[in-house]
């Protein structure tokens, strides 16, 4: 068993080195003024992490936007905090604790919604603020405030090999699930009752999608942090939704927005010496406003132009 884990670890390290080497080939095509920043090992790790996080957030973002799960994403990301603290206390890897409390909270929200008269927005609000408060209290007892800041706002430049491996594994799982269950997920997002009528097990799809969302959030923690991760789960999908009427195209654009925001944001944050998580999200938000203004079909400018021409 130990040997197997070791072999897997070695394989993971080799895979990471390979992916970084591939990314560096692309980076070195860029002018020196840009590529110079990526000569350090920590920058290369940060780059790969950003690309992966941008990609899986981009994929999941389509479901979050179309299923109106923005608040749920926000809730899960906050609920992850006590898990991080408990894992720290018990000496576990942080992502196990994060995953457990994130998943528990989403199940709790579902249960309150289904069995009481409390509506879903209130159920989410009370569950995630409660969990977040527990996390703050726990962390104030056990860790320094810099530690808390890193969890809340991300620290992509300090990403360790283990966290990078986790992000890689999460990306592979997310990609596989979306590929293997493409049709059930699409049908469930579009028309759950039809999925039910066709005999699909919609609770499995529902909770599977929530677990996938939790996994994505946990994998993105180091990069953008608890507070801002939800932006990466909304903005790329919303941007893509303005630009296309095809689901697959939406997913591609969304991944493009996610990856480009993460990479450009990372680079800008180093060059300008500002917080990386915030910069990444700001780049994504800029993409959104560009799409909002200039989208050929659903953009404001062309719509005004057409109206003006007609009138």
């Amino acid at each position: 068993m130990a040997e197997l884990m070791e072999a897997l670890g070695l394989f993971g390290d080799a895979l990471v080195s390979g992916l970084i080497a591939a990314l560096m080939v692309i980076v070195n095509l860029l002018p020196g003024s840009i590529s110079d920043a990526f000569q350090y090992a920590f920058m290369q790790r940060a780059l790969l992490t950003s690309v992966l996080v941008g990609a899986i957030c981009g994929i999941l973002s389509c479901y979050v936007v179309l299923k109106r799960w923005s608040l749920l994403g926000d809730a899960i990301s906050h609920a992850v905090l006590p898990g991080v603290a408990i894992a720290y206390l018990l000496g576990w890897p942080f992502f196990i604790g994060a995953f457990i409390t994130g998943a528990l909270t989403s199940v709790g929200i579902g249960a309150i919604e289904r069995h009481t008269r409390i509506k879903s927005d209130a159920a989410m609000g009370l569950m995630f603020t409660g969990a977040f408060a527990l996390g703050i209290v726990l962390i104030s007892k056990i860790a320094s405030s810099t530690h808390l800041m890193h969890i809340l706002f991300g620290n992509v430049l300090g990403v360790q090999q283990s966290a990078l491996l986790l992000t890689l594994v999460a990306s592979v799982i997310a990609l596989l699930v979306v590929w293997l269950a493409y049709r059930p997920l699409l049908l469930y997002a579009f028309d759950p009752q039809q999925a039910q009528a066709l005999g699909f097990n919609t609770s499995v799809i529902h909770y599977g999608l929530i677990l996938l969302l939790t996994l994505t959030i946990v994998a993105s923690l180091e990069t953008v942090g608890i507070i801002l991760v939800v932006a990466m789960l909304i903005t790329p999908g919303a941007t893509a939704h303005l630009l296309t009427d095809r689901f697959k195209t939406m997913m591609l654009i969304s991944v493009g927005v996610g990856v480009s925001s993460a990479v450009i944001g990372l680079w800008l944050s180093v060059v300008l010496d500002v917080a990386s998580g915030g910069t990444i999200v700001l780049v994504a938000t800029s993409w959104f406003f560009i799409a909002l203004l200039f989208s050929p079909k659903h953009g404001l400018l062309l719509r005004q132009w057409r109206r003006w021409r007609m009138g």
Binding site: P184, A189, F190, A197, T202, D245, T249
Partner: protein
């Protein structure tokens, strides 16, 4: 309260869906009580009742999105879930039940009706890019779109359709499933006269092909000539019979009165229970 069994009025026809002793409730508010109904196979049945009478709830039970409190539902002598999994039950939702902003085309939406059957294809094939894989199911989709006269708009995003076109796409999705039982929730609501005629013609053809058609509707002058049976429902079954019997003015007035009595009765019960609560 006459809880008639359909079989008594309809002779020896085979039974497509058999509902026994069904009760359903939303948050402890009873919506359906003591429903015993048999839908004969190969016939066209309309379920008629005022708003809030439990018609849609009955469909939610049949499609599995709502669990009944009590009672059983069988289709062709097996649990209905077996037939759902086999893709034998097609469902046409109300227009409002769907997110029309969703980024899919008319073609992809109707292809959704094939998703149940796709589970029978081997996994490796399903994982091929849909450009190749979907061909196996394209014929059914094309036929369905042709039947509702929407083939020309197959590549349109669904958000760009008119109200009647949206209804026709939803009907096409149900047709593409080539199921033996068609459940249609208000297929004629808010539809222009040409679309209404087209939908009724399509359903008449499906019935002739031996399919069981069950539709929910709250007004049905247009459908009257087509359907074989009418079920009047308002929480309880209020009557089962031919369209002429059930849709007489006297019968419909009775149905409307029953719903007023119902709410008066509910109010009394609520008052009585709050009174006892205050006493205790």
């Amino acid at each position: 309260m006459a809880t008639t069994f359909m079989s008594t009025t309809l002779g020896q026809a085979a039974v497509a869906i058999d509902i026994k002793g069904l009760y359903a409730a939303y948050q402890r508010q009873p919506v359906l009580e003591n429903i015993n109904l048999q839908f004969p196979a190969g016939k066209w049945t309309a379920i008629v009742g005022p708003n809030g009478a439990g018609k849609s709830t009955l469909f939610h039970v049949l499609t599995g999105s709502m669990k009944p409190l009590r009672g059983s539902v069988q289709a062709f002598d097996q649990p209905i879930s077996t037939h759902r999994k086999a893709g034998h039950i097609a469902y046409m939702a109300q227009r409002e039940a769907i997110e029309w902003d969703f980024p899919v085309s008319v073609w992809e939406t109707v292809m959704g009706g094939r998703y149940g059957h796709m589970r029978n294809d081997p996994l490796w094939r399903r994982l091929l890019p849909s450009r190749w894989y979907d061909r196996r199911h394209a014929e059914a989709v094309r036929e369905a779109l042709q039947a509702v006269d929407m083939l020309g708009l197959a590549e349109r995003p669904i958000g760009a359709l008119s109200g009647g076109q949206k209804k026709r796409v939803l009907l096409a999705r149900a047709l593409a499933q080539q199921a033996s039982i068609l459940l249609l929730d208000e297929p004629l609501a808010g539809v222009d006269p040409p679309s209404e005629r087209l939908i009724l013609d399509v359903l008449a053809r499906e019935r002739l092909a031996g399919r069981t058609v069950i539709m929910v509707t709250h007004d049905m002058p247009g459908a009257r000539r087509h359907v074989d049976h009418v079920v009047l429902i308002n929480r309880f079954i209020r009557g089962v019979g031919s369209p002429d019997e059930m849709l007489s003015d006297a019968k419909l007035a009775e149905l409307a009165v029953s719903s007023i009595e119902q709410s008066a009765h509910d109010a009394q019960v609520a008052e009585a229970s709050s009174f006892t609560a205050a006493q205790g």
